[in-house]
Structure formats: C-alpha cells, structure tokens
C-alpha cells in the first residue's frame, strides 16, 4: 500500500510529501505547477500517485503548465469553477505569477486556492533569496508557514479550509529546509467521497474587474482580510508557551522555520522554562490583539524571523500605534529587539546562530539569565567546542567537487563548440536550467543571466547597446516558459542575436517533468507535443537550423554559418538528456570512450571538456566506464587519443 494513501497511522514524509497528504485530506480537485526546486516534489508526487496508484488515488486533475503565470491562472479558473485548487512553484516563480495573484485576491475564488511558494533562503538552487512573505502583505493574502512535516500537512489542510471559507487565495510558504526535511506525519482519513465543487454564479459585478468593480472589490478584500485576521487570532498555529514561574517574563516572537532553531537553541541553553515563546505559524494577517497582549505581558521581546525584517517592522509599527493611542505612552509595552541583535537578513539561520544572538540579547536585557547559561554544561563546553571547530578545519584547500554537467550531457558538446569558435569574442547570455553550469571553466559560456527567459531578451538588449556579438543559450522548457515572447520581440524589433536552443526533450534540472517539447511517445495521451522548429519559424525567424547536438562538426559548421548572418538566428541543438534517456526512455548508449594514447591531444581534451568520467590512474588518463555516458564527444575532440568500444 502506498504510504501517502494509507487511511491512518504515521509515516515518515518529506515536507513536500506532507503537503500532498494535507491536500489529499482536504479533498483537492485541481493541481497546476511549474517545477522549480524546492517545490517540485509536490506536483511530482501527485503525478506519481496518479500513475502508480490510479485505482486507489482520489480523483484530481494535475497539470504541468508552461510557466507559473499560466499555472496560477489555470488554478484561478478551476477555483472559479468551484474546484479546490493547488498551485505550486518556487519563490521566483511567484514573480512571474504575481499578476494573477493580485487580481484574483480582488475578485475572490469560490472554490478556494492554495498557492505554494517554496522559498530558498541560502540560495541552494536559486538566483536570489527573496522573501515571499512580502507577497502576502503586498497582494493581501492569508499566509501559512509550516516548520515541520506534520505542520506542512496540517497547514495545507487549514489553508484550504480558510481559502474556501473566505473565497480568497491563500499562500502556503515553505523554505528549502521545510520542503526537504523528513519527519513523522500523522495520517488522518482521506475524504470518503469527492468534495463537492462550489457553484459558480454569474456575477460580472464581482468577477470582471473593470475599474468600478475593482474599486469596490478592493474594499471587499480589506473586509475579507479582517476576517482572516480574526482567524489568525484563534489559530492553533499561533500559540504562546509561558514560563512556569509566571510574572513579567522576557518573550520571543518567532515566525515560520525560525521556530525550529529557537526551540533547539532554548533546549541547549536550558532556558525552555524561563522565556515566553510566541510561535507564529499562520503569519498573515497578524493576530494583532494576541500580539498586543504579549507585548504588554512581557518585559522585553525579541523577534526571530529568517529573511527580511517584515514581522519585526510590523510589530514596531503596531507598538507605535498602540503607544500613540494611550496616555501612558509606550511604558506598558515591551521593548522590541530584532535584527539589531545581529540576526542577519542574509542566508539561512541555524541553531548555533540563533543561540549566539539569544545570548547577546540576554546579556543586555536579562544579565541574571545570561549568567545562568555560562554555568550550564553547554556554557562550559562552548569555548572548547569553538576552538576544536577551528582546529578541525582542514588547513589546506581540499580538492573541490563543484557541480558539473553530467558525463554524456549534450550541452557540453555545444558549449565546447561555441567556445572553440567564438572564444571571448562573443558575449554569452545564459538562462536557467542545468545548462547554466556552462558558466564553469573550461567551458565558460555564461557571461550574464537575469531570470527565466532572459537569455533572449537581455541578450538582445546587450547586443543593441554594445554593438557586440551575443550568443544566447536557452533550454526547451525555459523556451516554452518565457522564451517565446522574447523571441517574438527580437524578431519584431530586429535584434541581432544568435540563439542556441538546447533541446534535451525534458525539464532536466528539476527532475524530468514534462514540457511541450517532450516527445509525444513520452507525453502519452494527456498532452500534445509542440514542435520547437515550427514555432521558431512561425515567430518569423528566417535563419533557423536544427542539428544533432553530439555531432560536433555539424554543430561547429552550423554555428559558423549562422555567425555570418545578421538579425535573429536560431540553432536548435537536439539530444535527449542523458539521464532522462537512460531512466525514462530506456535508451542507454551502447558504446563508451577509451583512451588508447596518452598524448598531448588526450591531455588537452581533458582540459577542454572536463568530463566527470575522466580520471587519473597513476599517471595515465582513463575513462570511468561506469560514468561514461557514451556521447563520444571526446573522441571527436581527440580522435588520435580516444577510441570507442562496446560497453
């Protein structure tokens, strides 16, 4: 029996899987997504359940949309039609989807809609670490922030309930640590029969936001958020634990995943019973009454939140408002500390970081408690611990293992060809996917990158402003995501750009999700293949060539020919992702490369390709055949040193 469909019990689940379970328990009808780390496992799990457990899985519609804006609009449409909808994306995806988010909050969504924004503090796999809690404030949506797998399940359910009740979109915000933690989850029963769709009643005065309607709906939104605030006041996810001794204690208000670090740090310091802790999990709108009471009952308050000082600023503004409205001024309110204690807005928090800042804060606001710490076991250990940490740091630089394009990856062939031909003469405009790794030496084929789809547009702008040659690289999924509009613009505005579409037939970086470029045989009967070459030509590109990416000579010659032309030129380099071909298409290349001469050509090939299957055995270069992807690009680069042989 599939754990995620079990009727009860307990399971060890990934945070993202717990979100799936929560949505299933809520009776989700419709899921749309654009994949992106760390959000991808949510939709992928729904896809897997549909494929592997069709008989047992509840009925739901799932789609991989071409981008986040499209995905959110689909979910809005489904929710207008009364379906409980879930839309998943990574944090930067919400920038793309911001347009429907703002206006859907105005018109409201009868079926309910939960939007998963998976943030990435620490930039584990992202181009920025933006804090999407700001979107809840900006677009006026309720916000839930789980910190554990169990909370991920519970809050997903609660988000659906609140969304349906208020008919408003609700944001569920996870972070990399929450999406990718693994923890115990209680399984509660799944609905026995499908939840009924909410009825759509034609009401253009609500659902068609022409200016007069929009102005009216803005006020309705404010009223709905008032109700959401009341819900937050009563939410079990916003809870206070008071010290046993009572009195007028010090307090900490902690939000989202920072609550974990706080709990562990207080345990280490032995202060679990000494400080009042206000845990915020349903974090927007803020439960202002409850917070006000906390500010009055504590003698000092520290605000703990990973990322921007959003909660802290809101609390300071709340305290100012309260102080202005009473005669005694701010005397009865706790002093608020936050980022000024050295709690950074950069990167991820950790238990150590939180513990150190807590100690700093306590030293100022409660010297008696601070003194207790230094007498604990932990306090005595600390100096030794710090010294030993520094001691155990390797003295010399250890051989690094930077991420690298896989052995057998066709991107390497195209990048090698481009660098051989254009060297530093061209400027390379890169995009988002595995192929961003082209930035690493020796390939060095990424000079700038802004966001999804910007290879074409930022490349066009760079070429126009500088008059220099720009070679842009984009993958197939990114081309469908937001490359097509940029290409239409490049043709329309007569830009000068050589665009290479690296078509590996899948969304490789995030785990091989479908996109319209995927072969029909892989898409099955639920989706239709779109031909990239036909689209490029239909967008008005006159110089468009398609090559097999592993045919090095052909790639090089075509690039040279296209470089002679002016205007928008497109090379489509086709070759399935080597991992996808092996795992999903059952295609494993039958030959592998072998060095048969240890000459300069061999060494130069190693230096120019840096394929991870190359290794040294003693003084000799060899190919690790368990890693070799069989692309045989190295054989084309070094024909006198490398031969193919059967696997």
């Amino acid at each position: 029996m599939e754990t995620l469909l079990a009727p009860g019990g307990q399971a060890l689940l990934l945070g993202n899987e717990a979100i799936v379970r929560g949505a299933l328990e809520a009776g989700v009808h419709f899921i749309s997504c654009y994949p992106g780390t760390p959000s991808s496992e949510v939709a992928d799990t729904f896809a897997r359940l549909k494929e592997e457990c069709a008989e047992d899985a509840p009925a739901y519609d799932l789609e991989y949309s071409v981008n986040e804006k499209v995905a959110l609009e689909l979910a809005c449409g489904a929710s207008l039609a009364g379906a409980q909808s879930l839309c998943t994306m990574k944090h930067v995806g919400l920038n793309v989807a911001a347009d429907p988010l703002f206006t859907s909050a105005y018109i409201g969504l009868p079926g309910g809609l939960v939007l998963l924004s998976a943030d990435d503090p620490g930039c584990h796999s992202s181009q920025n670490e933006q804090d999407n809690r700001a979107y809840a404030r900006f677009a006026q949506t309720p916000l839930f922030e789980p910190a554990s797998a169990e909370e991920a399940r519970l809050m997903t359910r609660a988000a659906f309930t609140l969304s349906r009740q208020l008919e408003q979109p609700v944001i569920l915000r996870s972070t990399t640590r929450v999406s990718h933690l693994r923890g115990a989850v209680k399984l509660e029963p799944l609905p026995e029969k499908p939840v009924e769709l909410a009825e759509f009643k034609r009401e253009p005065g609500r659902f068609v936001p022409v200016p007069q309607v929009a102005l009216k709906r803005h006020r309705v939104l404010a009223a709905q958020m008032g109700k959401a605030r009341t819900a937050a006041e009563e939410s079990p996810f916003n809870r206070i634990s008071w010290p046993k001794e009572g009195g007028n204690p010090l307090g900490i208000i902690a939000s989202g995943p920072a609550r974990n670090y706080l709990a562990d740090a207080l345990h280490e310091l032995g202060l679990e019973e000494q400080i009042a802790v206000f845990e915020l999990g349903q974090t927007w709108p803020l439960p202002e009454k409850k917070l006000e009471a906390f500010l009055r009952d504590c003698k000092g308050v520290l605000v703990l939140e990973e990322g921007a000082a959003l909660l802290e600023n809101d609390l300071r503004s709340l305290a100012n408002r309260l102080a202005a409205s009473e005669e005694k001024g701010s005397e009865s309110l706790a002093a608020i500390a936050g980022k000024d204690t050295g709690l950074t807005e950069f990167g991820e928090y950790s238990t150590s970081l939180v513990r150190q800042r807590l100690e700093r804060w306590l030293a100022n606001s409660a010297p008696d408690l601070a003194a207790k710490i230094s007498s604990t076991q932990f306090g005595a250990d600390r100096a030794a611990k710090g010294a030993a940490c520094a001691e155990s740091a390797p003295k010399e630089q250890l051989a690094a293992r930077p991420p690298n394009l896989c052995a057998g990856c066709a991107h390497r062939a195209v990048y090698f060809a481009a660098r051989e031909i254009f060297g530093d003469e061209a400027h390379y405009s890169s995009d988002i996917g595995c192929y961003t790794l082209g930035l690493l030496p020796p390939l060095r084929t990424a000079d700038f990158l802004v966001c999804m789809g910007s290879s074409i547009t930022a490349g066009s702008g760079f070429a126009r402003a500088s008059g220099k040659m720009v070679v842009a690289f984009i993958g197939d999924s990114t081309f469908f995501h937001s490359g097509m509009s940029g290409l239409a613009n490049a043709v329309f505005n007569r830009h000068n750009l050589l665009l290479v579409i690296l078509d590996n037939g899948t969304t490789a970086m995030t785990g091989h999700q479908p996109n319209p470029g995927m072969l029909q045989e892989s898409l099955g009967s639920d989706a239709t293949h779109l031909d990239i070459e036909a689209i490029v030509r239909a967008l008005g590109v006159r110089h468009c060539e398609k090559v097999k990416a592993l045919n090095l000579k052909k790639v090089q010659n075509t690039l040279k020919n296209l470089a002679q032309e002016q205007g928008v030129r497109v090379l489509i380099a086709e070759e399935p992702c080597v991992l996808y071909a092996r795992r999903s298409l059952g295609r494993r290349r039958q030959r592998v490369a072998s060095f048969h001469r240890q000459n300069d050509e061999a060494r130069s090939c190693l230096a120019k390709l840096a394929c991870p299957a190359f290794r040294m055995r003693g003084d000799a270069l060899e190919v690790d055949h368990s890693l070799c992807g069989g692309c045989l690009v190295c054989m084309q680069v070094a024909p006198n040193a490398i031969k193919a042989k059967n696997r």
Binding site: P38, A184, K186, N260, T351, M509
Partner: protein
Amino acid sequence: MEKPAGAKRLRIFFAGVGGQGTLTASRLLAQTALDAGVEAVGGEVHGMAQRGGVVESALLLGGWRSPRLDLGEADVLLGFEPLETLRALVYLRPGGAVFSSSDALAPLAVALGKASYPELGKIQSEVRKVASQCHFFPCRELGQKAGAVQSGNTVLLGALCASGLLAFGPDALKAAIGKYLPPKIQESNLRAVDLGVQALASAQ
C-alpha cells in the same frame, strides 16, 4: 506526537558524493529510528547542489526540531567517501564519533592536476584530532562481499547501530531493511549490516 522517554538526543551528519546513495542511507536510518519509537527529523538538500557534487544530509534524533546541522554540532559523522569525511569534519563536535568508508572517489580536479587527493593516513590523523572514536572500513569491498557494491553504505549503518550510540541496535536496522527496501536488494543489505557489526567488533 508522543515523546518516547529516554531516547537521547543525537545529531548525525551524512557526507558523500552524488550517486553514492547518501540520501537513501539517511532515510533508512530515519525510518529505523521512527519505528523504534525515537523522534526523528532529517534534512536533505536536493537540486543543483547534488549534481556531481558533494551530498550532505542530517538526521537529528530524540526531539530536535531543526533539520539542519551547523559546524561543531554533529555527535556522529557518517562519511561515505574519505575526502568528504574530511571536508565534513568541521560539523563534528569534539569527542564525536566518525564512521567512514576508506574508498576514495577522486574529484575531477585531481585528474585535471589542479588538486591532490590527501593520503588516507593523513585523513585519519586529522579525524583523530577531533573524534573520540573513528572507524574506517573498506565499504566497497565489504559491499561486494555482501552481494552488491551499493550495500557498502549499509555496512557503515550496521557499524553505527552496533556502536551503542543509538537507542536501537542492528536488529532494528534489519527490520527496517525488510520493510522499506525493495525486495531484490534486501538480502545484500542484511548481509551488509552483519559485516558492519563484525567490522566494528574486530576493530575494537
């Protein structure tokens, strides 16, 4: 969720190279702990960070809430590759325990002549400076002996479970293997547990 009494808090750091099965091993141990009634939270990093690079995960037992380990916090370091054991040593608290494979997987930078691979003896002496106990096992060879190279990771898990550091022993690990691993790899993994237990016993 109920808090099992008496389960000591313990933080374990796993380090390996992409494709070695580091995450699978940490999941198996997490599942073992949970079935043994020990609270467990694991932390993994997916995506770009793991392509051909270093893979790290964490398992925190006995009531910790955060899935993340910072420098000097790990009670136990499990290294599936010696260079990664050395790289991850900063995560170990002084006096912690290290269980590591002694089989090297040289990074590409070594083949490119841009870096050298440290001698195993040097790695071991660095580890001994911080750890109160450390064990290096030829996991590839032991895995092969168990029936599949990939089960080499389970040798380390077996040794850890036999060390007495955890609230459960090798039998709990075996039960989890029987419950959660695909049937065709169960036998080799069960043998790997025994080999890990034996390897630890003969080292002590």
